[in-house]
């Protein structure tokens, strides 16, 4: 697969997600864990979406999960993506779901429920969590 000349849209860390992206650079998948009810969440908000507690700790996730669902994109929305590519939702062992891409597998071989493990895609100033079959 040839790499497109244009970069795909890369996220810019915001304040709540900064430790997540710092962790990614260090090869660690970081989640917020509610200090009151123990629920894990993706670090997109200061309040727990189970109990609304604003108190939390940062925890390293196992990096393991399963494919919750996926699609294979054929429509060109952005020049930074080589078609076709998969868009995959991984259900993390800790519970939350993360939207990502599977690497190291043919799109035709992806199955819902298959175990996967995190792997890091490094860009100039940001690192992204991708997943490959475990």
């Amino acid at each position: 697969m040839t790499q497109p000349a244009v970069s795909k849209p890369l996220p810019e860390p915001d304040e709540p997600s900064l430790p997540f992206f710092q962790g990614a650079t260090d090869g660690r998948l970081m989640l917020m864990k509610c200090a009151d009810c123990g629920a894990f969440r993706l670090p997109s908000r200061h309040h727990c979406d189970e109990c609304l507690s604003p108190t939390f700790t940062w925890e390293q996730a196992s990096g393991r999960g399963t494919v919750r669902t996926f699609g294979v994109m054929h429509q060109r929305y952005h020049p930074g993506f080589a078609l076709p590519y998969n868009v995959t939702v991984v259900e993390l062992e800790e519970g939350p779901r993360i939207t990502t891409n599977l690497v190291g597998i043919d799109n035709a071989d992806i199955r819902v429920g298959m175990p996967v493990t995190v792997e890091w895609e490094r860009h100039e100033d940001v690192t992204l969590p991708k997943f490959r079959p475990a």
Partner: protein, 397 residues
């Protein structure tokens, strides 16, 4: 005892502009055309309108959409009820719900509910009009940026993910999605308002290009410019107005929330499950009593999962349920009888609502369903995030 709001109000006016690839009018101009048509249809004078509920389509986000300023554009000076609402594709049904409640509370008499959108330009594709993050300049911020970085663009992606999950969990097949598209096109053939009226076969369905597997182009709704307005009035007034009233028997909503949360089953268990209980209880009926379904059909899969969630079949059996073509003309559960958003026109929740009014009036011409006693009309928005339902009837009780 009957629910106090069952049959309290009725839809008494309907106005529809030309819809589809029509150009040259702003959303305000389109809305004014639809409102004028609806007021005329209802036999009212403009000054009798005392309620206005407004829903902008995608242009409410991308620019040029309806705002509260529509009141002034329309020159409505007697309003007792006014709001600009947005719960995505569930808004149209919601506007009728809030209008009904306001009428029952004595807060308004004749309420106009209007939707207008004009995302299409002569030079742009339908996909470009709804491309989501792909059209956003600069770098996406924070965790939300992971979506764009994964190439997740627009609703097509979200619904493909939901449909795939249903296929994996319940064994639903591509042919079963295809049958929904084919059944609806068969209805559109007889709808002069429809954008796509050429008959469609399963071969046509399978030959249509992939957008995002498992969705073919023909699994996805149209994109349309245009406007639709309805007028909601008290039932006792409706009886003496010119059009056959379409009474509101049941109403309900359901909003299951964030997809990324642990434990969410958003893909296969939608807000329709919650809305169904409220709406059926209010109407005093169940799915077995429904004669016609007008279901929000942004994708074929939306129809399938909505049928399950209203209890027309068991959870997971939507595929086999639709497979025999029972949704199409002559079938046992006429569904999306104008062709729906897939084949007729995409006016968000006004698509199922307008066709429900037409069928309830008996004004469907060649596509009119004879048995129209109870019509289920649904709206759905976000990625199966928001849901609202109306149960409508030509009968007051």
């Amino acid at each position: 005892m009957s629910h106090p709001l069952r049959g309290a109000a009725a839809i008494t006016g309907l106005g529809m502009t030309p819809m589809g690839r029509i150009y040259g009018k702003s959303t305000f101009e389109l809305a004014a055309d639809a409102v004028r048509l609806a007021i005329t249809d209802a036999g009212l004078k403009k000054d009798e309108i005392d309620g206005l509920l407004i829903n902008a389509g995608i242009t409410g986000t991308t620019g040029g959409g309806l705002t509260l300023g529509l009141q002034n554009y329309l020159g409505l000076g007697n309003l007792r009820l006014l709001n600009h609402m947005n719960a995505a594709g569930s808004t149209a049904a919601q506007m009728v719900q809030y209008a009904t409640m306001a009428i029952a509370a004595g807060m308004a008499t004749h309420v106009v509910c209007v939707f207008a959108d004009a995302p299409l330009r002569e030079t742009t594709s339908s996909g470009a009009a709804y491309g989501g993050a792909a059209r956003a300049p600069g770098r996406p911020k924070g965790m939300a940026g992971l979506y764009a970085a994964a190439g997740y663009f627009g609703a097509n992606t979200g619904y493909a993910l939901a449909a795939r999950r249903h296929m994996a969990v319940y064994g639903t097949t591509q042919d079963q999605f295809g049958q929904i598209a084919v059944s609806q096109r068969a209805w559109a053939v007889n709808n002069p308002l429809a954008q796509l009226r050429e008959p469609m076969t399963m071969e046509d369905y399978h030959a249509s290009r992939w957008i995002i597997e498992p969705l073919h182009l023909l699994d996805c709704c149209l994109v349309s410019n245009g406007a639709v307005a309805v007028i909601v009035s008290p039932a006792d007034r409706a009886r003496s107005m010119p059009q056959p009233p379409v009474y509101i028997h049941g109403m309900g909503q359901g909003h299951p929330g964030d997809h990324a949360r642990a434990g969410s089953d958003w893909e296969t268990m939608t807000g329709a499950r919650i809305a169904a209980r409220t709406a059926f209880a209010m109407a005093g009926c169940g799915p077995e009593d429904i004669d016609i379904c007008e279901l929000y059909d942004c994708y074929t899969y939306t129809v399938l999962v909505t049928l399950e969630d209203y209890g027309f079949c068991k959870k997971g059996e939507g595929g086999p349920f639709v497979e025999d073509g029972k949704l199409g003309p002559g079938g046992s559960l006429p569904t999306n009888t104008g062709g729906g958003e897939l084949s007729a026109y995409y006016m968000w929740g006004m698509t199922p609502l307008s066709e429900a009014v037409i069928q309830g009036r008996g004004a469907g011409g060649a596509r009119q369903v004879t048995k129209n006693g109870l019509i289920l009309c649904t709206g759905n928005g976000g990625n199966l995030s928001y849901h609202a339902a109306l149960i409508l009837s030509p009968h007051a009780n």
